[in-house]
C-alpha cells in the first residue's frame, strides 16, 4: 500500500501536448476515479502511472519513490485492462500465478496465494480452465485475481467494466467497491461513465482536454461543481444551463425573458454581465401559489415510475430544459408549468472562463 503523488505531470506526442501539467495526491488506501469524456487523456494519465507511457515532464511518486524512469514491473503496481488481456494459452491458475513465477516466489507460496485469491473471487472451480471457456464476468474476475495475487502497492483499472453488459456491470461495480474496501489497496480507476465514477470513488478527478477540472469527493462535485464542464458532466439528466445577466444589485440573475431568479447572496460581478445559470433537473420544484420564479410549456414527458422528467423549450436563448419531479405526474405535453428553485441549489458560472462564481 502506498500513496501516489502527481506533480505537474505532462505528456506530449511530438509537438502536441495531451496532458497539461496535472497535480494531485492520492492517499494510501484511497479509491480515486479519473473520469472524463473520451480523448481527455485519462487513460494516458493512468498508463503514465503504470509506466506504459513515458513521462514528458513533471514527477510521479509511488510511496516515497520517484518512478518516472522505472519499468512497469519495478513499480509494484497491478493493472486490470478493458479487454482483460488474459493469456489465452494459459489456465486460470497460470494466468494468476505468472507474475509471481517471474518474481521467483516459492511454489508453495504461489499456490497458497492463488488459492486464497480464487476463494475471494469465487474462482476456485475454474482454476484449471482456459480463459476462453469462461464468461465475460468470470474473465473480468480472473483479471482482477491476477492483480490481487501480486499484492501490489497500487491497483490501476482501465475501464474494466466497459466490455460487460449493463446488468453485470452494476454487479461487478459493487464487487470491485467491496473488494477495494476489504483489501484497502490504493486504487486508481479510469472510466468515462459518471455513474460508475460517482459510486466507486472516494474522490473523483474530472479531466477535460488534458487538464484537471476538479478533484474532490462525489458530493463536492455534485454540490459545488467548480466549472461549467463538471456541472454538466456530473449528474443525469445533465444540469440545465441558462443564459442570464447579473442584476443591478448583483444578488439575482435576470433571464432573457425577464424572469428574476434571486441568489440569496451577492455576486462578485458587474451588473449587466452575462453569466451561465445552472439548475439540476432534480432541484427544480413545481411552484406553489405565489413563489413561481419561471414557467414553461412542457414538450416531451418521460414517465419512469419513480420520477417524471419533463422536457421543454425554455425561452429564446436556451435550447432545452429538463425538470425531474418525484413520483408519477399525469400530465400531457403542452401544459404550462410554474417552477421554483431554492437559492442554494443555483450554480453561477462565468461564460468566458467556465469557472464557478457563486
Amino acid at each position: 500500500m502506498s500513496n501516489i503523488s502527481l506533480d505537474y505531470v505532462r505528456k506530449s506526442y511530438g509537438p502536441s501536448e495531451v496532458i497539461h501539467g496535472i497535480s494531485g495526491s492520492i492517499q494510501q488506501g484511497e479509491f480515486v476515479v479519473i473520469v472524463g469524456p473520451s480523448g481527455c487523456g485519462k487513460s494516458t494519465l493512468l498508463r503514465m502511472i503504470a509506466g506504459l507511457e513515458s513521462i514528458t515532464g513533471g514527477e510521479i511518486q509511488i510511496g516515497k519513490r520517484v518512478v518516472n524512469k522505472l519499468e512497469p514491473a519495478q513499480r509494484n503496481i497491478a493493472m486490470v485492462f478493458q479487454n482483460y488481456a488474459l493469456y489465452p494459452h494459459m489456465s486460470v491458475f497460470d494466468n494468476m500465478s505468472y507474475g509471481l513465477k517471474i518474481r521467483k516466489v516459492p511454489k508453495e507460496e504461489i499456490r497458497r496465494r492463488v488459492e486464497e485469491t480464487a476463494e475471494i473471487l469465487e474462482l476456485t472451480p475454474y482454476l484449471k480452465r482456459s480463459p476462453r471457456q469462461l464468461s465475460g464476468g468470470q474473465r473480468q474476475r480472473v483479471a482482477m485475481g491476477r492483480a490481487i495475487v501480486r499484492e501490489p502497492d497500487v491497483f490501476l483499472f482501465d475501464e474494466p467494466l466497459s466490455n460487460l453488459d449493463a446488468k453485470l456491470r452494476v454487479q461487478m461495480r459493487l464487487e470491485i467497491k467491496k473488494l477495494q474496501e476489504r483489501l484497502g489497496i490504493t486504487s486508481v480507476y479510469v472510466t468515462h461513465d459518471q455513474v460508475e465514477a460517482m459510486t466507486l470513488g472516494h474522490r473523483l478527478m474530472v479531466l477535460n482536454a488534458g487538464s484537471v477540472e476538479q478533484f474532490g469527493t462525489p458530493i463536492d462535485l455534485y454540490d459545488k461543481p467548480a466549472t461549467l464542464f463538471v456541472a454538466t458532466f456530473i449528474g443525469s439528466p445533465a444540469m440545465n444551463i441558462l443564459n442570464g445577466t447579473v442584476s443591478e444589485d448583483a444578488s439575482s440573475i435576470i433571464l432573457p425573458e425577464g424572469e428574476v431568479i434571486p441568489l440569496g447572496m451577492r455576486l462578485n460581478a458587474q451588473a449587466g454581465a452575462s453569466v451561465n445559470l445552472g439548475m439540476r433537473p432534480e432541484h427544480i420544484r413545481l411552484a406553489t401559489n405565489g413563489n413561481a420564479l419561471f414557467s414553461f410549456k412542457s414538450d416531451v414527458i418521460e414517465e419512469l415510475g419513480a420520477d417524471t422528467i419533463i422536457h421543454a423549450d425554455f425561452g429564446k436563448a436556451t435550447s432545452s430544459m429538463a425538470v425531474r419531479l418525484d413520483g408519477i405526474h399525469r400530465v400531457s405535453s403542452g401544459t404550462q408549468f410554474s417552477f421554483a428553485i431554492d437559492p442554494e441549489n443555483l450554480h453561477v458560472f462565468d461564460p468566458e472562463s467556465g469557472k464557478r462564481i457563486n
Binding site: G51, P72, A73, N83, A85, I102, R150
Partner: protein, 283 residues
Amino acid sequence: MVENRPFFDTLTHIILILGVILIAFPIWITFVAATHDLARMSQAPIPIWPGSHFFDNLKLALEGKVVSGVDMLPVWKMMFNSLIMALMIAIGKIIISILSAYAIVYFDFPFRMGFFWMIFITLMLPVEVRILPTFEVVASLGMLNSYLGLTVPLIASATATFMFRQVFLTIPDEMLESARIDGAGPVRFFFDMLLPLSRTNIAALFVILFIYGWNQYMWPLLITTDSSLSTVVVSIKEMLDSAERTPEWNTIMMTALLAMLPPILVIVSMQKLFVKGLTETDK
C-alpha cells in the same frame, strides 16, 4: 447451396470426380510402373494395372547402384540428404523469420519500416533470379558441396516474416503490457507468449516450407557436384538423362513413389494444426 436440385448435385459431383481423376491418374501410373519389371515397362503400350514386381523394384531402388547407366546413391541415402535439406530450410526459415518479425513488430529501432520493406522487396528476388551472385557468394564462402551451401541461401524468407508479422499484429497490445507489468522481459515474452500463441502458425509454415525444401531442384543441382550429397528430386531427373539406354522406368518410378512419402507423412501428421494455423484468426 441449400437448394435441392438433383441435376446440379450430379453435375457438381461429376466435375469434382473428374478433377480427382485428373490429379490422381499420374500417381496411379507411377504406382503401376513401380510394380512391373523392366521388360514389361519397355514395351508399348504401358500397363494400367499393377503387376507383381513391387517388392523386387523396392529392393532395386533401395540398393541403388547403376540405374539407366548412371551411378546412383542408394535411395535411402538420397532421401536422407533431401530430409536434411528440407528440415534445415524449414526450421531455419521459421527461426529467422519469427525473430525478424518479432523485431519489426515489437521493437522501436531506427529505420524499422525501412528494414521491413527491404525484407519485403526480397519477395521479388527468388533464388532463380539471383542465381549467379548467390552462387558466387556461396562459392567464395567455401560452401559448395555442403549442407550449408544447400540450405543457407534458401533460408531468408520474406513470406514467412510477413506472415509472422501479421500473426503478431493480431495479438492485442494489452497482452504485452500485461506481461510487462507482470515482469516479463523481451526474451520471456517471446518464449512465454509469442511462441505458444503462434504454435499453429508455425506448424502450418513448417508444412509449407518442408515441402518447398523437399522439392528444391535447381539450387541443389547447381551447388552439389559431389554425388554423395545429391537429393532425391535431383537424382530422379538424372536417372532419366541417360543418353543411350532406355530409362529403367520401374526403378525410377519406385524412387519417385518413395520420394513422395515424406511430404505426405508431414502433411498427414500435421493436418489439424495446418488447417488451424491458416484459418484461425482469434488470438
